[in-house]
Point group: C2
Chain length 654, copies 2
Amino acid sequence: MKFNIIPKSEFDKVHKSNLSSVQKSELWALMCRYNSFVSIKKAGSGHIGSSFSAMDIVVYLYLNELNIHEKGLKSSDRDIYFSSKGHDVPGLYSVLFSFGIISEYDLMHLRRLGGLDGHPEIKTKGIEANTGSLGMGISKGRGFAIAKKHLGKDGHVFVLTGDGEFQEGQIYESLQSTAHQKIDKLTVIIDRNKFQTDRLVNNVNSIEDLKEKIESFGWAVRVCNGHDFEDISDSINWSKSIEGKPSLIIADTIKGKGISFIEETNIGENDEQMYKWHSGAPSDSHFTQGINELSNKISEFVSKNNLSEVEYKFVYESENIATLSKKEYITDAYGDELCKLAELRDDFIVIDADLSADCKLRNFERQYPSRFIENGIAEQDMVSMAGGIARMGLIPIVNSFASFLSSRANEQIYNNACEHTKIIYALHFSGMIPAGPGKSHQSVRDISLLGAIPNITIIQPANQIETRLALQFAINDSKENVALRMNIGPCPIDIEFPENYQFKIGTGTILKEGSDAVLFAYGPVMLAEALGAAEILHSFGFELCVINMPFLNRIDIGWLNRTCSKFELFYILEDHSVFGGLGDNLTNALINNWKISVKKIVKIGLDNYPECGQPFEVLNHHKLDAKSIASRIIGGDYNIFSDRSIAYSDEAPQ
Amino acid sequence: MKFNIIPKSEFDKVHKSNLSSVQKSELWALMCRYNSFVSIKKAGSGHIGSSFSAMDIVVYLYLNELNIHEKGLKSSDRDIYFSSKGHDVPGLYSVLFSFGIISEYDLMHLRRLGGLDGHPEIKTKGIEANTGSLGMGISKGRGFAIAKKHLGKDGHVFVLTGDGEFQEGQIYESLQSTAHQKIDKLTVIIDRNKFQTDRLVNNVNSIEDLKEKIESFGWAVRVCNGHDFEDISDSINWSKSIEGKPSLIIADTIKGKGISFIEETNIGENDEQMYKWHSGAPSDSHFTQGINELSNKISEFVSKNNLSEVEYKFVYESENIATLSKKEYITDAYGDELCKLAELRDDFIVIDADLSADCKLRNFERQYPSRFIENGIAEQDMVSMAGGIARMGLIPIVNSFASFLSSRANEQIYNNACEHTKIIYALHFSGMIPAGPGKSHQSVRDISLLGAIPNITIIQPANQIETRLALQFAINDSKENVALRMNIGPCPIDIEFPENYQFKIGTGTILKEGSDAVLFAYGPVMLAEALGAAEILHSFGFELCVINMPFLNRIDIGWLNRTCSKFELFYILEDHSVFGGLGDNLTNALINNWKISVKKIVKIGLDNYPECGQPFEVLNHHKLDAKSIASRIIGGDYNIFSDRSIAYSDEAPQ
């Protein structure tokens, strides 16, 4: 597939044209939507809906309001704009590109290593704050404003938020303190596009009456049409005129605004209005349809206003990034097994934080509506609620992405655990892959964040079979809390178990025999790399034993002795920080175990922030791919090998 | 000092009397205040102000409302009451005692090992939820209500909250979701005593207009006088009549209600109204004054109502728990050094979450008001605000208790860190001691919670000298974030440094030479035990080298080699979980260091939840005291030794 973009020179032409300010904004936004749509298609993922609902506001600010063009991006007097929700960043990138702040190369390398991150990252020119974890923006924006005041610097701070974000408690903390501290150089704009992921905010966890609510926190509030540039302009000017208190604009917008079928909603079960373009790239035919609609609108606009036709530039051909077909998903088995177990026992309750589809809970939700609680984006509340449910003897199964659940709700998890009830925490999107969404979403700290809680067993299954067994264990057998760490993408290979396979607490499974060294790994992504490394090493006559170790913080010493007494060289591979993962837990088990003579223990994991990009490039960057692992184990250069056959699909959630 | 309590039999007399329901409640509450005051005095710490402001509400519920007396505490149909703030639990204990739910022994062993925890713990009969970390109560209460509905069980859920708690974001998450989920078997009562710690809530971070605010979240709200039993009764009945939405009672109360001088406030600097009885035990003379006032009120009440005199029971003599005199506080040096450094550079900002006095920030606050932000109990907001401030080139110094800051704001700390700015996190009340407040406050996970963030140096100083140097390093020298882990209590001994002492990243200091084994420890509490162990071992001819290691996650391998190459036996002592502390970091440094021949590495730390109690009993319970350590190192029974001379004061914050 070929991609055309609108080059910066075309934006310069618009800038110099005789169009009115409003007309310029309108055309500019259309052109930015075009480039944004292309970049998401090229990347294979990205958030279209939110990029488009916020686009007119963002274009207005950069074209008419922000002083960055005069002051420069390094000036302490500059105006600050950033989006708290962050996933609308493909839209922002196209705007930054239109002003020459980021390059064409960057724009065309969304979600690629060395390109643009899937959520905002300040290493990218023009990005003011790392966001992607919801609810932090107003607090951070106030920080900028306070610092400017302390430094005696000019500049207004604009923070865009989502409406679903108004389910996060930190938003209300920040509403309260920002009003109390009388911060008035801060304007918050809510992109009120009504949908969070795929459902109406007010169906999931209503935030109405939003205006009344925010006013009750001492803010000046105004509602505007977020696609009407005059209204946006008036509202921004109104906001800047408010003194002694912060102000907020509720911008009424349409998710996906600009392409007709991406604006559309459909009616799902229970007559519920659903939105399906929150994230993910359009298919080839959808892309063609959408890009034609945008270019037609642009053509109409320029011809109506007697401007010359916009000239497109051919940029790239699709690289045909390898995608998987028919590979299994861990979470499919998880969702299915939940339903099966629900038939057998009615004492567990499934709870979700607005990620029901990603967490494969939709079937459960349909079949057991009275045992499913959609709690919205309120992780702390969700976890403490689970605590109360567990105190009455039921088993709550709490779902969210691992990076959010293990950190945002950490104190609540600890609090529940110290009551010695049983709760299952389903940590979806664990590990570094998919790497497209960036470091706010990649979860490489979760084991360390739960590891010091005495009564949580942490398990990561290798395939669908083990996923079912792990869930059965958690619900039926475990006496304590269980954290189920699950990959969210398709498994790169099928991990096949030997005939004597057993799922038994503290034990693992030999997936490949070997006598020269042993490598422990877990989860389908890292096991694929581990087995790949073993294959490479085999061709060098080095026989690496590969063990699948699903129990990340419970080790059966008897099993370890029986399995490992013949080894002296131990490697532990994980897409988690080298701190606080299986590596540390196994190290402790090994060094205090005098039946095993250890010569070397090497933890192969992350010692820095995870990079954003395609799985293969990110794994390689962090030296966690098969070749790097093989190289680390016996040294040498494996670049002589052709690329191995494992291929990934970067199906990027949220 | 001698203590009298009012025995349960006296409450039974009141119960059988002909007093009206309101009169019974009044007398009961007076008698419970009496016992509560005694238990706090005996314990040496506890929260009087909040126990007394909530007392009338709690007495009303247990005497007139809760069905637990008929249904029993194990019935799934029972009504549930718990306090979300939790620190008012001495008041609740006296009520539980009055109904015979807890024993006289328990009541007289507040904050003692095997007695009653400083914050609610469900191991105590009658306690429904572990609380103490603020803001979780409404969420948890909803969980109880949802589970009851699922199970088809009866019973109403009552949750008491503080007013300062309404600065925590989770409160608003729970207001929103509880209304959305139409939970109506839940009544929330705010103990609106107007003060948080020592300042007016509305001066710290105003929560007004509270009624309007809560109503905007879809709740039914009613204001009542929290010391008027008829009004309380009417309000509870009103609340239970509300259908289809949750209801909340704002109970207007007086902090310390019941003893005149404990109700009093005084005028502090800037004409600010201050409250001084939030926590801590009264002096002997204050105790006598207060207890006389209560017994006089009781006498007057019974004589006015023609009842027989209440008979007191002599219970215990004061045990004279050893307290320290003139020992230094780490945080005194911290507070003082902050002021000194502020004279030299004006690019740092000090931020607090309602613990200014405990964190010894009051002098800084006075001297540099424009560089101090009191952000209230809103840790997540505080940390993200610091992130914004740091992005403008200033250095924020963020203060709170370690257990709250490292967990509640964990995702925000990670988010800031990945922007590669520099922020200093002052983790007060680190470690297990003082052990009176209980496991919500004792911080034994903080190193593990920050350890997987690549760019945070974690330091714990051993004494005042090292505290100043650590703060200087953090502000002047460090290129990355610093977490300063500080003890909050008085240092049990003065840790003296050798002449060649240096504060250098990754290195430690030999405090006692020895050749038989080496023990690493940090912070004044554990170093005192380490040195005590070395002394015991010396008398056995075993020479233990003791090293103070303030850098908990940065180890200078060259220094380690030079210092430790002669050792084969390594011990690491910490009042932190054995998971993710210095122990794991040193283990990794040692096992990958082939210049050192390691025979044994033993981590001596916590492998379970920290117990509540006096320091000496809790250290002993967890085998972290000098004798247990010595015993672990060379075996044998050290009970033949007389108690060692280290004495602790359990000065218990929050």
